[in-house]
């Protein structure tokens, strides 16, 4: 079996295959709903309604998409250079820790100044978390998949220590949580009373910025060259190690913004359940977007919509929310396969 490239795919191929992937995803969801004893059409309808059926639902989806855009961008940036950053979760928490450190009265600044300072400091922290693994990779050839993945657990335990120790809220009735951020360190809501905050706008801005970096700057060009063919890049004089480090700093910084935006925009303090795996879901988001930074926004909205919709559907129809995990996984697998097959056909012999 081998793949034969297609130079100019037909319109049928370009639109038919992704549509088939979507249909397959819906089919799988329907079967699961049947298996849970519910009406598949009603279930899908409820998911759709829960994700985008009302102003409240839509804003909730946008709010849930915000951290996923950041982590998705972080992964997309790194994967472009074939730097396998599986540690967006750790970088997210690093950003969250710094946000609490600086946002609980340490800096007497007005909000307009304080927020950018915190955001930059958070990015720096996230970047530093990824700096170790990337230096180990470029200097000693240590596999960054292992180091970044294991760093997630180290970071989670470190957060646990902080919340039980030095960063524990004295007014928290014994719960492991940090003190609340001061008012000046909170990201304002876009719509009063609803959970959507300016972090979402920041995420969109970040996606555009990453797109500009990748297509218009020398760093973006270098990153793509290193990712596509490191040997040719090295031969041509591109400093491969330095490009890897710069890419890692950007990636870690973007992931940390997820932590900043969740704490400063939504939660107001740091707890151990700040992220239900946003770092890992970011990998799905980035892959689904084929690592395109603008595509990351769309795929984050899709994934967030499925999760928010499934939550709401679950309450109404009694089908477990795990259907959301299976839906996103199916969508990822079928969509990646479909997009691959628009540009190549399979020959069995």
């Amino acid at each position: 079996m081998r793949l034969e490239p297609i130079a100019n795919p037909t319109a049928l191929r370009r639109f038919g295959l992704p549509a088939t992937a979507l249909a397959l995803t819906v089919l799988v969801a329907s079967l699961l709903a049947l298996l849970a004893g519910a009406n598949p059409f009603a279930t899908l309808g409820l998911i759709l309604k829960g994700a985008a059926g009302s102003k409240f639902a839509l804003l909730e989806t946008l709010s849930r998409a915000t951290p996923l855009i950041f982590t998705g961008l972080a992964v997309a940036v790194a994967f472009r250079a074939k730097l396998w950053n599986i540690g967006a979760e750790a970088q997210l928490y690093a950003g969250a820790i710094v946000t609490v450190l600086l946002g609980t009265g340490a800096l007497p600044l007005p909000s307009a100044l304080l927020l950018p300072v915190i955001a930059l400091a958070a990015m720096l922290a996230g970047a530093l978390v990824l700096l170790g693994p990337v230096l180990l990779k470029t200097r000693l050839g240590v596999d960054e998949v292992v180091t970044t993945l294991l760093f997630n657990f180290i970071m989670l335990l470190f957060v646990s220590y902080l919340l039980e120790g030095p960063m524990k809220d004295p007014m928290g009735m014994g719960w492991p949580k940090s003190p609340a951020l001061e008012k000046a360190a909170r990201l304002p809501r876009i719509v009063d009373g609803l959970r959507l905050h300016w972090g979402f706008a920041l995420a969109i801005l970040a996606a555009i910025a990453v797109w500009v970096i990748q297509t218009r700057t020398t760093l973006g060009y270098e990153t793509r060259a290193v990712g596509l063919n490191a040997e040719a890049a090295r031969f041509a004089g591109i400093p491969v190690g330095r490009v890897m480090v710069k890419t890692a700093l950007l990636s870690g910084g973007l992931a940390a913004l997820a932590g900043f935006s969740e704490v400063a925009g939504l939660k107001g303090n740091l707890t151990l359940d700040l992220s239900p795996g946003f770092g890992y879901t970011g990998i799905i988001v980035a892959m689904l977007a084929l690592l395109n930074p603008l595509g990351v926004v769309l795929s984050a909205l899709f994934v967030a919509g499925v999760f928010v919709g499934a939550d709401s559907m679950s309450r109404a129809a009694g089908v477990p929310t795990y259907i959301a995990d299976i839906l996103t996984a199916t969508a990822l697998l079928t969509m990646v396969l479909a997009l691959r097959l628009t540009r190549a056909r399979i020959r069995w012999r």
Binding site: E4, P5, A7, R216, T217, T218, L219, G220, Y221, R224, A225, L228, N229, E231, A232, A233, R234, F235, A236, G237, I238, R349
Partner: protein, 514 residues
């Protein structure tokens, strides 16, 4: 010779057709091989030789056509059937286990999986007899890893003979041999046909085809372009059949050597895996000269190319440039010093396959104006540069935004050549610049290198093709085990004399060290 008209037909290909997507790799090819003859299969890279042999050997299945061996049809797609029918293949890249002995390699895969030990006594006797009959001297208990390339090839042939092959297929067997080793191989092939075997000799080297074959089949663009008795033709006519057009040899006008632009003194570099580093070499590249570096592949050519190209530094000794270079030695430093590099592997090192022509064109120069300013790319300027290369160097492509993966090897090489030469280099490092190219592209690349020399550039031409080296070089060095022969001015050495150096004789203590 036993072969010729009227002898028994041992192999018959009938209407073999194979299509890869839009490419017709083999188009209704039919021919017969008779007992006791050497048939040469001649054709440029991409003419369909290897595809045809892979079909014969069962690695590919043909879309149409049949293969008959000794009058029996071979089932398509079964390599074992070809082996069992008596077809043996010696590949260009050897398939031997380095850590096993010659005898073990020959026996590998012949014994039953269930028998606890090999009956080496009988096998040893058979191998000894084959060695004597065919003139394949090699010690059965030597470890393959310690053998020379020529000896390894003998083991490959013995492997096929041990399995009672009556038809031997050799795919570009001389690409890795010195002229002397080639002569020994031909002696073996002559003995084989005397003993009633038949040989298919795949090559694109005309003088070898003339020397060994009794009949020549010429493949061009997947078609059988001609079939002639070797006695009725000559090199020139074969070349024209191969290319389908008249060809002219490169011409080199006399030119006095200019000032030295790069001088290596007693330079050594570190060993790299199996390949030797440089072992204290002296080399001077002069303006307006093409210096040819001959040698069997893997004797330190890569080390020298990496050193001059900026990917490696001398471990000891000095490298002096005119004007002198200071600071770290890197690809960028080499480029800044006016060294243009044409890498050995254009797919892996020369280009980024999924980048457009534009993106590939500025791979070495993107960091400077006009292609970028303060970290911002100017894609319009980059595309202008790509268009200039496409026009000046006749790169056939859909346009500057096409992915370079879609280009043929020749057009890819023209882009690399253009990228290197447009910078106005003083030194040109051309490592295997025409390997795998068709004759049209070869002529073009050679013409450009000669033009650069005539403009006053110093060219270092690294090639495993002695004919190419001798045609183009003002002076020739031979590299062997990381050491460099003295410079031989143009026309002072015959191919056979250079072959002796390529085998390691003539170097101080060279023969012993080999």
């Amino acid at each position: 010779m036993a072969g010729g008209e009227g002898a028994e037909v041992v192999l018959r290909l009938d209407g073999i057709t194979k299509r890869f997507g839009a490419l017709l790799a083999n188009d209704a090819i039919s021919f017969e091989l008779r007992k006791g003859e050497v048939v040469a299969l001649l054709g440029e890279n991409g003419a369909g030789k290897t595809t045809l042999m892979n079909i014969l050997f069962g690695h590919y299945t043909a879309d149409a056509g049949t293969v008959e061996v000794f009058g029996r049809r071979l089932p398509p797609g079964h390599p074992r059937a070809a082996l069992a029918a008596g077809v043996g293949m010696v590949h260009q890249h050897f398939t031997l286990a380095d850590n096993m002995t010659v005898l073990e390699n020959i026996l590998l895969g012949t014994g039953s999986l269930l028998s606890p030990r090999l009956d080496t006594g009988a096998a040893r006797a058979k191998v000894a007899k084959l060695s004597a009959d065919f003139g394949l001297a090699v010690h059965p208990d030597a470890r393959v890893g310690a053998l020379s390339v020529g000896e390894r090839q003998r083991v490959e042939i013995l492997k096929a003979l041990y399995r009672d092959a009556r038809i031997l297929i050799l795919d570009e067997p001389t690409a890795v041999l010195t002229p002397q080793e080639t002569a020994a191989l031909f002696e073996t092939l002559r003995k084989a046909v005397e003993l009633g075997l038949s040989v298919i000799f795949i090559s694109h080297k005309l003088n070898e085809v003339m020397a060994i074959s009794s009949r020549v089949l010429v493949l061009r663009h997947g078609r059988l372009a001609g079939e002639v008795a070797t006695a009725d033709t000559d090199r020139h006519r074969l070349a024209e059949m191969m290319v389908g057009a008249e060809i002219t040899a490169p011409k080199l006008a006399e030119r006095d050597p200019g000032a030295p632009l790069l001088t290596l003194r007693r330079v050594t570099t570190a060993r790299r895996g199996n390949a030797p580093g440089l072992a204290g070499i002296d080399l001077t590249l002069r303006a307006g000269q093409i210096t040819g570096l001959a040698g069997v592949s893997g004797n330190g050519q890569a080390a020298l190319a990496d050193l001059i190209g900026g990917l490696d530094e001398p471990a000891s000794g000095t490298m002096d440039l005119t004007p002198p270079h200071h600071g770290d030695w890197s690809p960028r430093a080499a480029l800044a010093a006016g060294i243009a590099r044409i890498p050995e592997d254009r797919h892996r090192t020369g280009t980024v396959a999924d980048f457009s022509l534009t993106e590939n064109a500025v791979l070495e120069s993107y960091e400077a104006a006009p292609y970028s300013r303060k970290g911002w790319m100017d894609w319009a300027a980059a595309e202008g540069f790509a268009r200039k290369i496409i026009d000046t160097y006749d790169v056939r492509c859909p346009g500057p935004s096409a992915r370079i993966r879609l280009l043929s090897g020749g057009n890819m090489q023209k882009l690399i050549l253009g990228r290197a030469l447009e910078a106005g280099p003083k030194i040109i490092l051309a490592n295997q610049p025409v390997r795998g190219l068709d004759i049209g592209a070869v002529t073009f690349v050679h013409g450009q290198l000669i033009a650069a020399r005539d403009r006053g550039a110093a060219v270092l031409l690294i090639s495993e093709d002695l004919d190419e080296i001798m045609a183009l070089s003002d002076s020739i060095h031979v590299i062997y085990e990381g050491r460099l022969s003295p410079a031989f001015p143009r026309g002072t050495k015959t191919p056979a004399e250079l072959g002796i150096w390529m085998a390691g004789q003539g170097f101080d203590g060279g023969a012993d060290a080999a």
